[in-house]
Amino acid sequence: MNDIILDFDERVVFALRGLYEQYGYSQYKMSKFEEYDLYVRNKDFLVSDSIITFTDTNGRLMALKPDVTLSIIKNTALEEGSVQKVYYNENVYRASKAGGSFKEIMQVGLECIGAIDDYCIAEVLLLAASSLRSISKSCVLDISHLGILSLLMEKCAVPQHLQKAVLKCVSEKNTHELARMCMSEGVSERNIEILKQVTEISGSPKTAILRLRELTAGIIGQESINELERILSMLEAEGLGDMLRIDFSVVSDISYYNGIVFKGFVEGVPAGVLSGGQYDRLLKKMHRTDGAIGFAVYLDLLERMGENEKANKLDALLLYGDNVDVTALHAAVKQLQSQGLKVLVQKSKPQKSGFRYIYKINEKGELVNENDA
């Protein structure tokens, strides 16, 4: 029964909550409003910088929350030596990038805060991969490591002022622009080639890591690559290897994200539906010494999925005339419902809807079938 009643995205939320609770994540609930101050101080962490604000009755400037992560960090106290695991299912308020109007967007996500280690990272990645799988069998999780990129840029002598632009090229897989830019700033041909080849990596963990090692041997320390390999081996052991890709075009703001970052795609949806990473640097900015890793699933993008499932026609229409006996009418409704039909009672057929069956209650109070084509 649930499968028919629930919308596609409602079903997804149901499945995700079940999944996260299985791993001991507890639900974090928050109000619609937060102090605007919280977002102003961390503007670059937000997906979009348009925020709906209003002045509260006590004169404070408040915001309709554009993000949940910042609130979770703010309200989760540091617990030495342990890790706090929370998930959320909240509405956030954002304007689309192209100057569109504000929208209420349902977002599901989780955060793992505290003493983050290999297992925590692996578990979060596993949950991200499983989240994608519950949305669609045809999905891909792109994984990158910002530490590797930063180190690579440094060792390839990319000038400091150029690094942001180079990261932008990497995020666009724009190797020709990257080469042109670096060449004009005197980066060696050899180093440019390495940067280009790393940008073009897009493959399963095994092959990609092999390639990465090939390209960076003797240039950067292999610790971060080893970390990536260790963590991904756990996911491969779970049989998720097929949907994983190492792809450095997942670039997030390095002032917040320091290590593994990832983005999930589902076939048929034009933009990434899941986004996350390890963001210890954000915690540092909020004067904390612990770390954190998490992700968010953007349910508004899944709107179009499951559209074909909804039958165009409603089940049954029950028509009645004047002077009808209300009790007899309701008895007819119950009779149709007992056959498993959803019944709409109206005096006349609504113009735009289609119905599988049309019934009428006649003067004698009997149910008459007037089947619709």
């Binding site: 990038k97 192209a98 045809s138 891909v140 792109d142 666009e172 897989k173 724009n174 020709h176 622009e177 897009s202 890709r245 075009s249 795609f265 589902v266 076939e267 949806v269 034009p270 933009a271 990434g272």
Partner: protein, 212 residues
């Protein structure tokens, strides 16, 4: 049913050149040469579907997944900054974004510079990087007449040969950035149609290398 690759081509001279490259790469669609007003053409054998789109709209089709790949000028990409992959510089449709003014124009830094342009973001970014205060006048066409009629001091526009400017007594006073046609791809499509997209990229890349 074989999955089709949707390709957005810019309507016009550039689009014809781009299609020729795709044809040479083995992704022909003979129906496209029929002289009619159809906008969508497919060749199920090769698994491609082309459609003609207003040049400034190619990026939107690709960003929103209605097209898996497309070809758009760098000017459009810089102006709208769509969230897509820019896979290749096709080295055609070459021109530049430039600042032009009347030949006797002399900039007075003390005054706000009035800039007429179709490319408001590019113009704004350019002058912000120079710390120059400007007043942007957004126009949609015939930008060249703005300084002549005193609507603006300068214009920011695409310049190819410079003939249009000359004929209107304008000249380029500063180059902003070189422009050319780029192969772009939808990020999600790239994940699921990787092999085909990469194949097209390397075929087209080989053609551009040949020309050099």
């Amino acid at each position: 049913m074989k999955t089709m690759l949707n390709v957005a081509l810019p309507k016009g001279r550039l689009g014809e050149k781009v299609y020729a490259m795709f044809e040479k790469a083995g992704f022909e669609c003979p129906a496209i040469h029929e002289n009619n007003r159809k906008l969508i053409f497919e060749n199920p054998e090769k698994g491609v579907r082309y459609f003609w789109v207003k040049p400034s709209d190619v990026a939107i089709y690709v960003e929103r997944g209605a097209a898996d790949i497309g070809v758009a000028g760098k000017d459009i990409l810089l102006e709208y900054e769509p969230d897509i992959y820019e896979l290749l510089d096709l080295d055609i449709g070459k021109c530049r974004m430039a600042v032009a003014a009347k030949s006797d124009f002399c900039d007075d830094p003390a005054r706000t510079l009035r800039v007429a342009t179709k490319f408001t973001n590019i113009a704004q970014d350019f002058y912000t990087s120079k710390g120059r205060e400007i007043d942007i006048i957004h126009l949609n066409g015939s930008i060249e007449i703005a300084p002549i009629l005193g609507l603006s001091d300068v214009i920011v526009d695409i310049v190819e040969t410079g003939t249009t400017l000359k004929e209107n007594s304008l000249e380029v006073i500063e180059s902003i950035v070189p422009i050319s046609a780029r192969l772009i791809a939808n990020k999600s499509s790239y994940k699921f149609k990787y092999d085909l997209i990469e194949r097209i990229k390397s075929e087209l890349s080989a053609q551009t290398e040949e020309k050099k």
